[in-house]
Symmetry: C2
Subunit: 421 residues, 2 copies
């Protein structure tokens, strides 16, 4: 492997020693791997196994049906939603943990269009357009197309940075990713939200790649609706349930296209007619997935006492340092960062364009540096400030350089294609 | 407590001794409680805790992102779907485990309407009506109303037994429960399916209260679409993911209203345009909930070597015996069964109409007999043939009689309202 650069190694040690989040690393199950794929699947929080074992053996195994009340299963989606809300800047009562991100995008878009159309029912203007971030994670685009088709709207893809300029008098709702999954570009949530509002439309933010990595400030910026997953920077576990934020002001008019019995005002009344519950509960659908839900709840314990400002500061320091290490170790021209250099436009990942990126990532994984590969030519490295250190970061860049130089390396683990979002 | 009836006690012992499914009881975590609420939440299969601990500690904790391929996470919805398929009479490749029942009802109804409307596009007839079982579990009705609204159809509630007569030239899809959640009435799946087909419409069956309790025969009876949960007679755990069956003949035209990236033909191509996958995968939406999904997979191990015919035979024997025990122990007129006496119209539960049913059930639970209460006046007792025995059944009726007689009883456990579906 390439020789360590003494300056970088020393600097990494200093930065790690001064890191106020360093103690959080002990809250996760880690090993010698440099795990830079927490933007795909967060590492296992140490509290989860024992908690989940108790949920299974005692709450399900012994209390069985009684746990819906006695163990707080029934209210878990709102309770855990409030905990997610604290991380994304939402006051209590506006976030519910439920379903997948895709399903929540559908609810948010159809619900958003209905709020706007009901509001404008007596006006001449007819808003029948949904704007979508054109480089969106694909599922948002597919679901937006379905939402448009079912609500009689047209769908117009627009580059996220141009969303503020593109929104117009026909726009009902704009769906934007806070951070681009591929490039790691951070979009302007406050500015875009204000511009969408100025045009009389609503905005839906997809927070999959920002929640837990940086302050979001949903309430502070007046966001209307938002969705996100919990298995990336929130470390909720593979496929852990997603969440839906409906701002309090919109809740009374939120008319879900998936009005399952869990969102009924009196679910055990078993009435044939639907009467929606008040509040965030209105975003629920069917029976919540308790095992995954309570694993997530345990995973969120690591956030106790953590400020998203501190997380953001460390995230930027990590990605800055990674870029410097890459510059130092990797011959010029061999990779090119497609992640913006400016802090205000950077999320918590670095995406490097690289020839043979698929093979390079497979070899990196074999050597114990886990990122992922995005077709056709991107190496993606996610930095989770709660458990990623600066020494890890230096090592990742150094191993990358060795792989790119074709140096022989010692396999750390069997390789994996690293191609899962 | 009321004195045991020697004849019934003796008969219970004989029936238990002769029970070919008796050994299956050891595959579950049980205690002294008579658990007759497996039609709401199945008991914990003994294999689940160790399997789930391994999923968490090794697959998530150690392999992390690699498990999507190496541990078979990515293909779990189809793999486990095939196992559910074997229990409901569906050949491989038609069932996918995904989302909640409510969300799958939405996909099935909108998808069903689209299949019919696309088929009839060149004909004069316009099918724009959805029929729904009028005593349906409420969520199906709420979701059906939403599906009708979004597809421009009208929704017409019809008693399930009259569905075959009600279906007409305007009907696109009929949604029917196989077993009524409240009364335990078993509806005529073969006859209704044939009648719906004869009228040129499609049928969606909700199998929540039949799957795992009796043979369903989806393929044999030519069912078009079906949904169901996995946490009742399939014992998958609280809120475990539901499933969607799309008959092979309909798959090429199944046009999901929730076309998430997991249902794309090439999900990692990350193409902006949606191209649906072939087969059952087309019913997927977002990232699958792996912890709950794999707990379900372990739970399904108890079905190895079990025939649904044997399950059905024992189920009927249990419910027959329960009714006889109730007749013997409970004074005439104090309760009334609303579950059909005829085997061909009975599911795997007995629902007893009873004054003060809520209080009676709370007291039953305190005395270690767990059923549930359905407003306004129904005591619901579910019989899971894999772990419920005849001695349990005799005891349940005897304790019920004691409670109804106002006899003092020894509390077994802290009571719970028993009002969760």
């Amino acid at each position: 492997m390439s020789e360590p650069n003494a300056t970088l190694v020393e600097e990494a040690a200093k930065l790690d020693a001064a890191d106020e989040l360093r103690a959080k690393r002990a809250d996760f199950v880690l090993d010698d791997t440099v795990y830079l794929d927490g933007n795909s699947l967060g590492a296992l929080p140490a509290a989860v196994p024992a908690r989940l074992a108790d949920v299974v053996a005692r709450e399900w195994g012994q209390l069985r049906i009684r746990s819906w009340e006695e163990s707080g299963w029934w209210t878990a989606p709102e309770r855990i939603g409030d905990r997610v809300g604290r991380i994304v800047g939402a006051a209590a009562g506006q976030v519910v943990v439920t379903d997948s991100t895709s399903v929540n995008v559908f609810k948010a878009l159809v619900g958003g269009v209905r709020i706007v159309q009901a509001r404008d029912v007596s006006r001449d203007v007819s808003r029948d357009e949904i704007l979508v971030d054109e480089s969106t994670f694909p599922t948002d685009g597919y679901i937006a197309e379905s939402a448009a088709r079912l609500t009689g709207c047209t769908l117009r893809p627009v580059p996220a940075p141009e969303m503020a300029a593109a929104v117009g008098p026909r726009t009902a709702v704009a769906l934007v990713n806070h951070v681009d999954y591929r490039t790691g570009r951070l979009h302007d949530l406050p500015g875009t939200t204000a511009a969408v509002h100025a045009a009389g439309a609503l905005v839906v933010w997809d927070l999959c790649h920002s929640a837990g990595a940086l302050p979001v400030g949903l309430d502070a910026h007046g966001v209307d609706l938002a969705v996100g997953c919990t298995y990336k920077y929130l470390n909720g576990g593979p496929g852990s349930p997603a969440y839906l934020y409906v701002a309090r002001e919109h809740q009374p008019r939120f008319d879900s296209p998936l009005p399952g019995w869990n969102s009924h005002a009196d679910p055990f009344g078993m009435a044939p007619g639907y009467t929606p519950a008040d509040g965030a509960v209105r975003g629920r659908v069917g029976t919540p997935d308790i095992l995954s839900m309570l694993a997530l709840e345990a995973a969120l314990d690591v956030w106790d006492g953590v400020s998203t400002a501190a997380v953001r500061a460390k995230s930027l320091a990590l990605t800055d340092f990674f870029l410097r290490c890459v510059d130092t170790y990797v011959p010029a021209g061999r990779v090119e960062s497609v992640t913006p250099a400016a802090h205000e436009r950077r999320g918590s990942q670095i995406a490097l364009r690289c020839a043979d990126a698929g093979e390079v990532m497979a070899e990196l994984i074999r050597r114990g540096v886990v990122g992922d590969f995005r077709r056709p030519d991107v190496l993606r490295f996610g930095f989770t400030p709660l458990y990623t250190g600066f020494a890890d970061t230096e090592r990742a860049a150094r191993v990358l350089a060795a792989v790119l130089a074709g140096e022989a390396g010692e396999a750390d683990e069997a390789g994996a294609p690293g191609e899962v979002a």
